[in-house]
């Protein structure tokens, strides 16, 4: 071929590649979906919320549909996970596409977003550690991510949770569980967030309810852990306590007890806040719920799950003025987990509402149960 022919072939090839990329648009992570008109949530209980799980939902249309259904159910609050490793996979790289989708669609649906921050990228932890491993050397890196997050979403996301269930070895990256170390994380990250966006409320804790005995390699009793947090000086480094309040096989009216895991264990955590001079602060339940798996030992019947869930929303509204919101785990998974986890959901992966969705919706509309 002549030089001229080679040039033509090269130009045509480059043009084809360019057209292909424009059609494919791999950097956008899916076709954008219109936000639609501004919506508002109609509900008789403004504390109702759900934990969505959009982290691995890659289709913007499904992100939008999920959040529409949350609004239609009557829950004004969502808790959602924004993994650090997804947004900052390398120190010099940022990918906000998915997070933007979630935040913008949630805002447009009239939902208040509580952002859970965590999941450490590979570059910020030693080789061979899990993404939940965060050592003190990288607390500032995490703080910078959190500060960028609250700056980017100023006016759109007013609540962030620092970490998740740090009283479990698994969630603490299999480091020895250490409340003082978690408090040092708060002491680094809290001022960085506040400097970036003083309007943001920082949630801490999100402790796993557990009766782990002293010295257990798996975790620390949540009541002991919270007191140890206060002892280590946590009070000045969070605005709201995040609480996990799973009900297990018990009714939400089962009284709280230090040797029992039930919904009202939240009251014991609140009591520790009061005893440590934090009664002026609010709390928020960022995970709660009942499970109706037919084979799981900690499950209840489907009808009990409905009854208990609605009663828990009522308790939050009527009995706990110190609580801002309660988010039930979990609204929907992008795909079936094929385990007991599927029996925590309110809608199927294909968006078919479960009976619990419709019953909670009726409650939120004030219809008789």
């Amino acid at each position: 071929m002549s030089e001229r022919s080679w040039k033509i072939v090269s130009i045509v090839s480059l043009a084809l590649i360019l057209i292909g990329l424009l059609i494919w648009r791999p950097w956008q992570g899916g076709r954008p979906v219109s936000l639609g008109p501004q919506q508002r949530v109609e509900t008789i209980n403004p504390k109702m919320g759900v934990h969505t799980r959009l982290t691995d939902e890659v289709e913007p249309a499904k992100i939008k549909r999920t959040l529409e259904m949350v609004r239609e159910m009557g829950a004004p609050w969502i808790v959602e996970y924004f993994p650090w490793a997804y947004i900052q996979p390398r120190p010099d790289a940022r990918n906000w596409v998915h997070a933007d989708d979630v935040v913008n669609h949630a805002n447009r649906q009239g939902l208040t977003v509580v952002a859970r921050l965590g999941f450490v990228p590979e570059w910020a932890r030693p080789k061979g550690t899990t993404p939940l491993y965060l050592d003190e050397e990288h607390f500032e890196d995490f703080g910078r991510y959190a500060a960028e997050f609250v700056t980017r979403y100023a006016g759109k996301v007013d609540y962030v949770i620092i970490g998740n269930e740090p009283n479990l070895a698994l969630e603490w990256g299999y480091q020895p569980v250490d409340p003082a170390q978690y408090v040092r994380l708060l002491q680094v990250v809290y001022p960085m967030i506040k400097e970036a966006n003083p309007d943001v409320q920082v949630l801490a804790g999100a402790l796993a309810p557990t009766l782990a005995p002293p010295g257990s390699e798996w975790g620390v009793n949540d009541l002991d852990y919270l007191q140890a947090m206060y002892d280590a000086g946590a009070a000045d480094y969070f605005d709201i306590l995040a609480i996990h309040a799973y009900g297990g096989v018990f009714s939400p009216d089962e009284p709280a007890a230090t040797d029992e895991i039930n919904f009202r264990r939240a009251e014991l955590l609140r009591q520790i806040m009061v005893e440590n001079g934090d009664s002026h602060k609010q709390a928020m339940i960022t995970e709660a719920g009942w499970n109706d798996h037919p084979r799981w030992t900690r499950a209840v019947r489907p009808g009990q799950r409905i009854e208990y869930t609605i009663r828990a929303y009522e308790i939050a509204q009527e009995e706990w003025p110190w609580l801002d919101a309660i988010a039930m785990w979990v609204f929907r998974f992008p795909w079936d987990q094929k385990s007991y986890q599927d029996y925590f959901t309110f809608v199927d992966t294909d968006f078919e509402p479960k009976p619990i969705y419709e019953e909670v919706q009726r409650y939120a509309r004030g219809e008789a149960q």
């Binding site: 109706d292 084979r295 489907p302 009808g303 094929k338 479960k354 009976p355 619990i356």
Partner: protein, 283 residues
């Protein structure tokens, strides 16, 4: 044009072939050593290594979670018993083997299969299309999904004939979900929502409902106790139980499929069902 290769070309070819060979060798080794990787017997002989080792050891290692009667549970002596246990033993006997039952927690069954702790899982395991990349699933041997149930002698013999009738469901259950779906799709039915599956059947027998939407395990158990209730039409929400084996175990997979088909034909499956659920109701 024909010409002899120079010694330099031959050297280049030899070096390239050597590097390619090394890469292929490393790849094959990685495929063998990876969790759930290739079985060396299969790799070298082209045969199913799982089936080969079952034959040489005389044992079929079957994983199950003995917490779901009547499919699998422990008897007073702590021994595993149930429909799946018998099914595994009957199948193993067909192949001249012994079934070795390995008790494993439900959520770890497929992990145990992948880690080669068992050869198959026979544990009321629902079919999961997402797992077909890693596991070989048998044809269904029990449909546990939601059935439309009616009292014996009912004129309702299909879901299309439910209009203007009452349908009992357990509140919040999958049967309730199916009932609500039918209503959304236009069926003129009234749902009678009760707290437990037992009360669903009670409502049906007491005449408080004309039909019921209930899972087939509960239904078959009731039928076995002599409750005169019949399932009509196909499952409205399917939940088939299958046997899982390693993806590479093609011979074992074929043997399981053939044996299940044979058991269907010669009445072994019906016999097992009658043993563990009781006799089916007369039509």
């Amino acid at each position: 044009m024909n010409r002899k290769r120079s010694s330099r070309e031959w050297k280049w070819l030899a070096r390239t072939a050597w590097i390619l060979g090394l890469l292929v060798g490393v790849g094959a080794l990685a495929a063998i050593l990876a969790p759930g990787g290739l079985n060396p017997v299969s790799l070298l002989s082209g045969r199913d290594g799982t089936w080969e080792s079952m034959q040489s050891g005389g044992v079929w290692r079957v994983g199950l979670d003995p917490s779901f009667p009547p499919f699998e549970t422990l008897d007073k002596a702590g021994q595993p018993v149930g429909y799946d246990v018998d099914l595994a033993r009957r199948m193993a006997a067909e192949w001249g083997l012994e079934a070795e039952i390995v008790a494993i927690g439900y959520d770890s069954l497929l992990d145990a299969l992948q880690a080669d702790r068992v050869d198959s899982v026979v544990s009321a395991l629902p079919y999961d299309p997402r797992e077909t990349k890693d596991f070989r699933f048998s044809p269904p041997y029990f449909e546990a999904g939601i059935r439309l149930a009616v009292p014996a002698g009912s004129p309702i013999d299909d879901v299309d004939k439910l209009d203007d009738h009452t349908v009992a469901v357990e509140w919040g259950s999958m049967g309730d979900m199916v009932g609500r779906r039918l209503k959304r799709e236009g069926a003129a039915i009234e749902l009678v929502q009760v707290p437990t599956p037992v009360e669903v059947l009670d409502a049906l027998l007491a005449g408080d409902a004309d039909a019921a939407l209930i899972d087939n395990v509960t239904l078959r158990q009731a039928q076995g106790r002599g409750v005169r209730v019949l399932a009509v039409g196909p499952a409205l929400e399917s939940n088939p139980y299958v046997i899982a084996s390693p993806y590479k175990a093609d011979e074992l997979g074929d043997q399981i499929a053939e044996t299940l088909a044979r058991f269907q034909e010669n009445g072994v499956m019906a016999e097992l069902e009658e043993t563990w659920f009781g006799p089916p109701p007369a039509p």
